[in-house]
Symmetry: C2
Subunit: 458 residues, 2 copies
């Protein structure tokens, strides 16, 4: 059978795959600092060469205004097979502070079951797992068409990617995007991330007197703008932590019973976890949702910054002329940032008193994203993971935003399935980043199984 | 009669008095900049010389850690006469921006009925009026004992004055302090300021997570400290603008019917005045009090500064680790700053949620002050003003604080009667400061009459 041939191939070439990963990790492709420009080019070419080596066609290193995008494709053995677009990035975070690394960041070292190097988990290990899974699956004829899109600017916010996607819509056409830039919750817990939150970011300015006033001479006749701002902010949540912007929850897709069950099964105590991670004296939020549900599946409104008047050491008795708040909402399906901006305006129109003036700037924003758990791609990945780990995968919603996922959905109409084979103690963005090799190897197996399963399900 | 002799003397020496004022105004005794140190010394000596010239004894220029204090005294003709301590300051505000002066700030120029120079109203003109009124009254034997205390640091917050007063309590013993550093509401409106507000100043810090958090990863499980601070601040006033600190109004002395009548008679429209002065779209405050009552006779709570998280240009999706507010209360009799600090603590204990930690620093503070309108000194000044202007004086409460007034009350147990002969368009602290000379001359007459009246009433 072709699947077993492919799995045998993985087994037989395990040492070479590790050697290739080490070579990839040796390139210090830090995207944020200009002195690594040549390393970035080397890493892009390294990916292109590896694509050619596994039999990809139409391989190109596409220049952009920033760092290049690498593309390559491999056809399925059969004409009517579905297409998987695999997203990855070859750039890495800076390695500083260097003195905290046990072995140098760009000299990969295997200790125990792990390999230590910058990018091992985020995400050169994941890119390699994808390339090598495709190489193995291709030995007996690929069951799906595969396209690779590997960018070099993820760690600096992917500024050139949307443009590239928009200009190459035909080239990138696919049935699903596989994005292995997420992770697992433990070595025995295969995980599928199926939703990300969106964002609506505002700057609210409240104006009172024409200039700062003496609080003795004028205190008692003007509405202090800092107080008025505090009153407006305080009114944006009710006593139960719910956001009060009119209509804010109208389009929020309720969690299904199935989703709540899945989130409740995650293998840790979320209260203890969040208390330890944040150091707060007590958790907070909508009481009718669990902490994981609140972070993953509920929208929020946060104050990101506050400024008014005199904030230096000491005392100054001023009534400030104005006050400012940075406010952002994390959004969930099916909220849209434009609607939330309208809701914020409606709230301010309804609640801002006539004693002050206000201005609202709408800053950054992006829609949330979610992938239907019943689609063939998610089902195929779940079956592949179960066959690999002998356990059903965990389904997880992430509280943050990954811009490329929203871009894929907006520009290409393409759902993303997020997974990955890094672990929580992989030290992403920190010293001693590492990759657990047995999990990595299981990840390759799961990807091979996914290609077969998806080709068969579709 | 001795009063009419004194008034004649004023009339006869009018030109010399103006010439002396001009000489005094030519000394650029700016207290805030080190390069005027010599001018400060010159001004102090000038006051001491003038005291000697009018017959004062025990005249001294007393060094302090800062600028010197000038003292001198003149005995009454009769042994059992009461004692008036006259407060003044010989320092002035800086003259900048110089280019906005029509004639140079330290080259006094008479145009029309006014003399233009820095310090003309604030307060060299008032110091001169006091010196010359005493000189005139002394011609026929002073009806009261007079002591002069003239400092050089008023424009920089009087840092050395409390120490000087505390060390010279016997020297400064008196029945009342006459403080001519206030003003009149119009040339036909003699004014007595009989109350000042006190101050209690706080810094409140609210702590949430141990460090700034990513709002995507943690938004929904922690109480944002900026939001918690806004909620605490918003709760410090009720919907009618009343302060909600427990017990805040318990010791507030109610306005008497007489006081409310007096404040209602002030010769201008306070709503129009405050709208124009502040530029706010609408006034604010406790609806059951008029704007003048709110500023003069009601305590307030103001936000003087706010800070939390990210306040630069742009967007950063952070849950801040902490948030800070500068908060101050203006106090009225019989509130005390220590009690208000306890009330603030009680409010925070009752309302701060268990999801955050808070710290309160008590910063600057000072008690309010008020002078009984029925004391002999106020009565004498009122009679003197009525005899001069043929109109009863206006009684006014000031919203600000003058530290020396509280110091006199705290250290010497001495009430202050505040008056002065500058007008609202005298451009205090601004270019083209000026003094209306006919009002100034009437002021001297009123002071002479006050000395006689007070000597007679007591």
């Amino acid at each position: 059978m072709s699947l077993s041939q492919a799995l045998d191939y993985l087994e037989q070439h395990r040492d070479r795959f590790l050697a290739e990963l080490e070579a990839f990790l040796r390139i210090p492709s830090v995207s944020t600092t200009p002195e690594h420009k040549e390393d970035i080019a080397r890493a892009a070419n390294w990916v292109a060469d590896n694509l050619r080596a596994i039999g990809a066609r139409n391989v190109g290193v596409h220049p952009t205004a920033g760092h290049p995008v690498v593309y390559g494709e491999l056809p399925a053995a059969q004409a009517d097979a579905p297409t998987v677009l695999i997203y990855g990035h070859y750039d890495v975070q800076p390695a500083e502070p260097l003195e905290l690394w046990e072995t140098p960041a760009f000299e990969p070292a295997v200790r125990g079951e792990r390999i230590y190097a910058r990018g091992a988990t985020d995400m050169k290990g994941q890119v390699m797992a994808s390339l090598k899974a495709v190489e193995a699956a291709a030995q007996a004829g690929l069951p799906v068409n595969v396209k690779f899109l590997v960018e070099g600017e993820e760690e600096i916010g992917s500024p050139s990617l949307a443009g590239f996607i928009a200009e190459h819509q035909d080239l990138l056409a696919a049935d699903v995007c596989l994005n292995p830039d997420a992770g697992m919750l433990g070595p025995d817990w295969p995980t599928i991330t199926y939703a990300l939150r969106g964002l609506a970011y505002f700057e609210l300015r409240v104006y009172g007197p024409a200039h700062d006033l003496h609080s003795g001479v004028y205190g008692g006749v003007v509405h202090n703008p800092a107080q008025a701002l505090a009153e407006l902010i305080a009114g944006m949540h009710d006593a139960h932590g719910r956001v009060t912007l009119p209509g804010f929850y109208d389009t929020v897709r309720p969690l299904t019973a199935e989703e709540r069950r899945a989130l409740a099964q995650l293998p840790f105590d979320p209260t203890a976890f969040y208390l330890e991670q944040t150091g707060v004296p007590q958790l907070w939020g909508e009481p009718e949702y669990t902490p994981l549900e609140r972070v993953g599946a509920r929208p929020t409104l946060e104050i990101n910054g506050l400024y008014s008047g005199f904030i230096e050491q000491g005392a100054k008795t001023v009534i400030p002329a104005y006050a400012m708040a940075k406010i952002s909402c994390r959004l969930v399906p099916d909220q849209h940032p434009d609607d939330v901006a309208e809701q914020m305006r409606a709230y301010l129109k309804a609640h801002a008193p006539a004693t002050i003036r206000w201005e609202l700037d709408v800053m950054a924003g992006g829609p949330p994203s979610i992938t239907d758990l019943h689609t063939p791609a998610v089902q195929a990945l779940a079956q592949a993971m179960e066959a690999t780990w002998h356990r059903q995968p965990l389904y997880r919603r992430e509280g943050g935003s990954i811009p490329v996922v929203a871009q894929m959905q907006e520009i290409l109409g393409l759902d993303s399935v997020l997974t990955g084979f890094g672990l929580p103690d992989g030290n992403l963005h920190a010293p001693n980043e590492n990759l657990h090799l047995p999990t990595w190897q299981k990840g390759m197996e799961a990807l091979v199984r996914f290609f077969y399963q998806f080709g068969q399900n579709t």
